[in-house]
Subunit: 522 residues, 2 copies
């Protein structure tokens, strides 16, 4: 069946909004009709100049741009499976992904083409890439220029895809070993947009600033939404607070999505003034917890701004829950939740045996529905493991309150079982981090003869101060139960190791403690 494919929502919208200015990327301007014409040439070029068949992967390693949007839309028209690559990866990681995906064509830009070359050197003889296409001008090694590819192509759309054809292969961060390719079908991405559109009141994207990197699942609403809801898109090659403030003000941006860090940097910037953001109607945030102070400042400065928090993951492409504007009353306890499942998505909290837990009890957040990936690419065991009992296991520990709001407490793998009690590292970290001399903290479980695991804190003090183990323990005991208080504390001066997604790599922190204990350290 073909019904749940992008063109069925996109083409009716083109007929209606096709001629207005829709894309703003530096000095570049185009309507959706002009964009569509370029996408059709790109599809033809992929097939006839690059030899990419509809089932083949093509990769993109590039800053945000209208060309990147054309590549996304070409995939959704059925030209191939897009493999958007994380810009923070090292050559060795890129080499692994290119080899694993068997990508034969890659699109890059002057900033990242040297990294492509470094990754290919890393692969050596097994390099599957036959063509490098350069977006924009430059000296970087490439086989064909993006505009030359389009100029030599005919404006011809490929055959309509089936809704169950794959369209995206997106590699996850890989905090636990090698990155895994998440293979997603057309219908899952379309249903994800449907779910969000049903849940968000009066979704009409107006002028959307696409500032999250376009390799990330958080960008999907900005990539697929604006054309079908009659919006226009403003691009920024890469986030900077000053650039974002300028673009919002210049183009009257109404809608955007940011992670809390991006919001914090904007509010803290010397050129920030609330009136520069006056055109914003709706701001979606997510991917990490929002600091209370940032949220309070935002609500005070922009009281008419609709705030939405999203929770999701690449495997759920991407939205699982939303906290809606009406749940953003200042001081509301719901602000600590990630909201409720979007319409069309099932969610349950399950114990280790797959039993659904009652409201209020902590377990693993599980979800199922039409928005899920098909599989981990070439990893049937990982796929089976994550889809146990027909439910996708998010790896997040949390609970639902009586009204269905989801509260996350930790990653399941970061939970500590000590003396039969579950301790959530995030709760302990939160208690320790209120100590004024603590710059960074991570809490892990380490082997303990008596307790099985013992709560252990690794603390980076503020520069130039000295804290004692007793100081940390006494401080912590004042706010959380005794069994959650660290049994031991290590201090270090170097920053904690972070993943590409800027999460603390607890696996690396745990490793030395568990060496020889035979436990999987996740």
């Amino acid at each position: 069946m073909k019904e749940l494919i992008y063109s069925h929502s996109y083409e009716p919208a083109l007929a209606q909004y096709g001629d207005v200015e829709a894309i703003i990327d530096g000095d570049y301007r185009s309507s959706w009709n002009e964009h569509h014409e370029r996408v059709s040439r790109l599809c033809h070029g992929l097939a006839h100049q690059l030899g990419v068949a509809p089932t083949d992967r093509f990769a993109v390693l590039a800053l945000n741009s209208h060309q990147y949007l054309e590549l996304w839309h070409a995939a959704f028209m059925g030209a191939g499976v897009i493999n958007p690559l994380n810009l923070r990866l090292a050559p060795k990681e890129l080499a692994y992904i290119i080899t694993d995906s068997g990508t034969e064509a890659i699109f890059s830009d002057p900033t990242f083409a040297p990294l492509v070359a470094a990754a290919r050197k890393e692969i050596g003889d097994a390099d599957p890439i036959r063509k490098v296409v350069l977006i924009g001008e430059g000296d970087a090694p490439h086989d064909v220029g993006y505009e030359a590819l389009l100029a030599a192509a005919s404006p011809e759309m490929p055959r309509e895809p089936e809704e169950t054809d794959p369209v995206v292969l997106m590699y996850t961060g890989g905090t636990t070993g090698l990155p895994k390719g998440v293979l997603i079908e057309h219908r899952a991405e379309i249903l994800n947009i449907y779910h969000a559109a049903m849940t968000i009141p009066s979704l009409d994207l107006g002028t959307y600033l696409l500032q999250t990197p376009m390799f990330h699942a958080a960008s999907m609403l900005g990539i697929l939404g604006p054309p079908i809801f009659g919006g226009r898109v403003v691009f920024i090659p890469m986030y900077s607070p000053e650039g974002v403030l300028d673009l919002i003000e210049t183009h009257g941006v109404t809608d955007t999505l940011m992670v809390p860090t991006m919001i914090g940097l904007c509010l803290a910037h010397e050129k920030y003034r609330p009136e520069r953001l006056a055109s914003l109607r709706r701001l979606v945030y997510g991917a990490s917890p929002m600091p209370e102070a940032t949220l309070a400042r935002l609500q005070q400065d922009l009281p008419d701004l609709d705030l939405l928090q999203g929770y999701g993951m690449t495997e759920a492409c991407s939205t699982v829950t939303l906290l809606l504007p009406e749940d953003h009353a200042p001081g509301s306890p719901r602000l600590r939740s990630v909201g409720k499942p979007v319409l069309g998505v099932q969610l349950s909290i399950q114990d280790e045996e797959g039993r659904v837990l009652p409201r209020g009890e902590i377990g693993e957040v599980c979800t199922r529905g039409g928005h899920m990936m098909r599989e981990y690419w070439n990893k049937p065991e990982a796929t089976a493991e994550t889809f146990r009992g027909g439910w996708y296991h998010t790896g997040d520990a949390g609970y639902q309150d009586e009204d269905g709001y989801v509260f996350l407490v930790d990653r399941v793998k970061d939970m500590i079982v000590t003396g039969g009690e579950n301790v959530y590292s995030a709760e302990v970290e939160s208690a320790i981090s209120t100590h004024p001399d603590v710059a960074q903290v991570a809490v892990i479980g380490i082997p303990d003869e008596k307790w099985g695991e013992a709560v252990h804190a690794i603390v980076v003090p503020q520069p130039g101060v000295v804290i004692t183990v007793e100081g940390i323990i006494t401080h912590t005991r004042a706010s959380i139960a005794g069994y959650k208080v660290p049994k031991s504390v290590d201090f270090r001066t170097e920053p904690l190791p972070l993943s590409g997604a800027l999460k603390v790599l607890k696996r690396d922190l745990r490793a030395p403690y568990w060496k020889g204990h035979g436990k999987s350290i996740g």
Copy 2:
């Protein structure tokens, strides 16, 4: 794949809204949780007491009630294929449908059980029905009472259906021959709800009055929507203006769907006062054109009411286009349109060879998307004919304006081709009906040696007045082009023949003129 089934949207909602009062049916009250419990018993009873397998049909011939809603929801939980029967059908027509569908169990109520008996008598020996279940109390012949069925059953849901399993078999009116069974899959009904929910701003059904008959596709939003959007439902067994006014006022009804005739009767009722409808926030209307005077009165009396016009059909289960509140500015030319395709639905205007016509040109309205029926039951030829080129052919002639709004001009079969020109009977009827002495009018094409077809009007004068052919022709010539003006006029005193859906049966009007001419008269 199972994702697009009702329980995936319904069960998460139950967990959230399950305990509040949700169903109001006379003195009967229940929460969605209580309703769900009864539905689960009904599913068990269908399987174990009535022998209905998930692929079997079960029929309902009954007034609106909460039991009817339970029957609908049992089908959507996977207990069987519901065959809701039109209450206006004659025993002979019912006999045809029961035989054609092979229904073995039928649910009825004291009002309609005698009609079931009459239909079965009509069928005679070939009667497939094994069990009649009576909703409510009464002497009508039946095998088991509805409450007894539930009491003897266990609260046990059937196996989850697949999204491509059939769930509804709904017979269309049949103005052109025998009624046809429209077979609909779970996913089509779910996507229809999704399409409406994406298109209607802030869909939240509040308190919904289900006043259209529950055998009709127009009731689907009221049947499937309220539980998943957290609404409650008020039932009226059968529409009456006084009953509707009372229920809206008593229960603070916020949302409902009515056909224009129902609205007109309410506004004209002696007990109508605008303040009795003060709780209404949203009124959807459709199925026939809204008289300008009715709309103007409604907008004047209830200026804050959001009005939406829907256009659709059973085969598209049911919504194809919506005219939104913002397009209801008094006097706007868009009020004569049926709005724009809902999100997720494709629509095009095609000529007889299946070519898509440019904006502004009249042709047949065609649609495709996930909302379409699977097929006409046991009628592969009719199915192939209506899905020519992959598009469902609605049989409606119309055009789209530059902004994509759809304007209907006629049924394709009622178009008259005279001297090579297309004449839309609806346009001619509209011109004639402004004559003050005309009570009813129908315009048809009749055989003509010179023109192929000639425009012919059949007029029912107002009681006690005399009109002449010249009077009609002169009046009509003043407002439409000469070739559209009737070449001949017949007068009759008896009302024009109407179909079960209250449409003029032009086929019957055409028949005597075309006898011996060998043309299909549609």
